[in-house]
């Protein structure tokens, strides 16, 4: 565990970048430091590998003060990823990734073999090995940056706004990839960002810092969204924290209706029977994949026109997706009903906004009870 123990960073001109910050950073989890510019998040990160020395306080790594080992030994045991990757433009991709192993004295052959292995791990085509950084896209460069940080298999990974400079689509890809890699490797990651959405998506725990380098709140993202510590945190989370909080509620408990789901080859009797169950019917293809909605009286048995069906919005997978996805599907659907599908994309039922709304209220209730129980009330 990394323990930041009442650390202050004061510059010679009197500016205080970090003010008596204490954080216990859990092992094998992603801890995100988030806040507006000037909140000292990068300074805090850089104090962990001693690129910045604290003015007061100490930082302990597994109970030992980080100043007790040679600085370059410390740094080589911590992967570091920065914005724009900071690749060595004069070295090939493979040699960039092999940097730290080489510093640690591995043979060139072994370091390169390890680098090749990491290229695969971060999803880089091995054909890129002999290229130079200028020949790669921003997203690819950032992947190289992550691979380089992982090369010597350090227990700790420090990431300083690594995905800020790439476009939103690439950023989402990189975030998903990081979560996947983290699932496999279980590193202790400290991740700095100014993007609260990124913090909530990636963080196991999120530390919100305010200008002047003081800690505003340190909590898991769901708790941050449900119980912001003060108006600053609430404001920083943005206007739609209620909706975003739904990401943390599973859609498992939603009661699905199968009545309104009819296959495209349904006969007249079946259509009539199902029409009674809901104001709209969801028509599926012969494999059970949703095609679209229709009012029952517009459907003629044996002659259902796919083109005239209403769009069914984005379906959700019960259990895998959150209530937020389910609600989003219902909101996007012109009928106000969301479509639930299984892993193969086959419709397993439909659910109305009203039912989702009840599930949300129930979920809030459970969280509140849980909190009350914890507080001993």
């Amino acid at each position: 565990m990394i323990r930041i123990d009442s650390v202050t960073k004061r510059y010679p001109d009197g500016t205080v970048a970090v003010d008596r910050l204490s954080l216990d950073i859990p092992d094998r989890a992603i801890t995100v430091l988030v806040g507006p510019s000037g909140c000292g998040k990068t300074t805090t990160l850089r104090m962990i590998n001693r690129m910045v020395e604290p003015s007061e306080g100490s930082i302990l790594l597994d109970g030992r003060d980080i100043r007790q080992q040679p600085v370059n030994t410390l740094r080589r045991s911590m992967g570091y990823v920065i914005q724009n990757a900071g690749l060595f433009q004069h070295r090939t991709i493979l040699d960039n990734i092999a940097t730290v192993p080489r510093l640690l004295g591995w043979t060139k052959q072994r370091a390169r073999a390890r680098a090749a292995e990491l290229m695969e791990r971060v999803g880089l085509d091995s054909a890129l090995a002999k290229r130079y950084p200028y020949q790669l896209s921003g997203g690819q460069q950032q992947r190289v940056g992550v691979a380089r940080a992982l090369a010597a298999d350090p227990p700790v990974l420090l990431m300083d706004e690594p995905f800020s400079a790439v476009d939103p689509v690439v950023r989402k890809g990189l975030q998903d990839e990081l979560l996947r890699i983290q699932d496999e490797l279980g590193k202790t990651i400290v991740f700095v960002t100014h993007d609260i959405d990124e913090a909530i998506k990636l963080g196991t725990k999120v530390a919100v810092l305010r200008t002047g380098g003081r800690l505003a709140q340190f909590a898991p993202p769901a708790e941050l969204l449900s119980a912001p510590a003060d108006p600053f945190v609430e404001d920083f989370l943005g206007a739609d924290r209620g909706i975003r909080r739904l990401s943390f509620f599973p859609s498992t408990g939603l009661e699905l209706q199968t009545g309104p789901v009819v296959p495209i080859d349904a006969d007249a009797g079946k259509l009539a029977a199902r029409a009674a169950t809901a104001p709209y019917l969801l028509v599926t293809d012969l494999d059970g994949r949703p095609l679209g909605w229709s009012e029952p009286d517009r459907l003629t048995a044996g002659a259902i026109d796919r083109e005239r069906l209403l769009d069914h919005g984005r379906p959700f997978v019960p259990g895998t997706d959150s209530l937020r996805t389910a609600l989003d599907g219902a909101v996007l659907s012109p009928t106000g009903w969301a479509v639930a599908v299984d892993g193969e994309g086959r419709a397993v039922g439909v659910v109305s906004q009203q039912v989702i709304g009840e599930a949300i209220r129930a979920a809030h209730g459970e969280v509140a009870e849980h909190a009350d129980a914890k507080a001993g009330r």
Partner: protein, 217 residues
């Protein structure tokens, strides 16, 4: 009638011999200048405040006429090649020091931060990161210094036949053979162009990592 490449015997060299001599007198000072510039430039990068005075000194050195240097240096080194080469080496500093400083400073801050964070010591960082990335700027400086040195060697003729190809200019006057002067000027120009081209080639070989114009991904 003597041929274009027949040289008067007082030059003491064949045409090819003069070219070899000329290149030696021109290139050794640039090499020496480079070896001196590297540590000076590193000091200027490390301690920013010494850069302006260093630039001032190199500019003043460049402004001193070579004749003035010769007057002083002849006392120590006689009418020798060394006397010609020392001022040339000093002149090269005015180009090389700023070229190296700019080159080293052009290394992106995030690259330096990454190197520091990965555990590069200062020495390793200089030789493995800063210097290689500064190569294009250093070679750009070397090209200017080399071409200017090749043309400046000629003044060596003033201290008794130490100007290599430049000595042909003197003989052109003495023997009323203007062709010798034409030959001297053309040869020096061609040497300059070839040396420049050679440096461009060296840069291409040293920097496969630079984006090439017109190259695609």
């Amino acid at each position: 009638m003597s041929g274009f490449f027949d040289l008067p015997s007082d030059l003491q060299h064949s045409y090819a011999g003069l070219i070899g001599l000329h290149l030696r007198e021109a290139l050794l000072p640039v090499l020496a200048g480079l070896l001196v510039s590297l540590p000076i430039a590193q000091l200027c990068v490390r301690f920013r405040w010494i850069y302006p005075p260093v630039l001032g000194i190199t500019t003043v050195l460049y402004a001193i006429p070579s004749l003035a240097f010769f007057v002083v240096l002849i006392d120590y080194f006689g009418q020798s090649e060394t006397t010609v080469m020392i001022p040339l080496a000093l002149y090269s500093l005015v180009v090389l020091v700023p070229a190296i400083v700019d080159g080293v400073r052009s290394v992106p801050p995030e690259t330096l931060a990454a190197a520091q964070a990965m555990g590069f010591g200062a020495v390793r960082r200089y030789f493995q990161v800063q210097l290689p990335i500064a190569v294009p700027a250093i070679i750009a400086g070397l090209r200017v210094a080399t071409v200017s040195s090749i043309s400046l060697v000629s003044v060596g003729m003033l201290i008794g036949n130490q100007g290599a190809l430049g000595n042909m200019l003197y003989d052109a006057q003495t023997y009323h053979r203007p062709a010798l002067a034409v030959n001297s000027v053309l040869t020096i120009a061609v040497l300059g162009i070839l040396a420049d081209a050679a440096l461009v080639l060296v840069r291409l070989l040293l920097t496969p990592w630079m984006p090439r114009k017109g190259a695609t991904r």
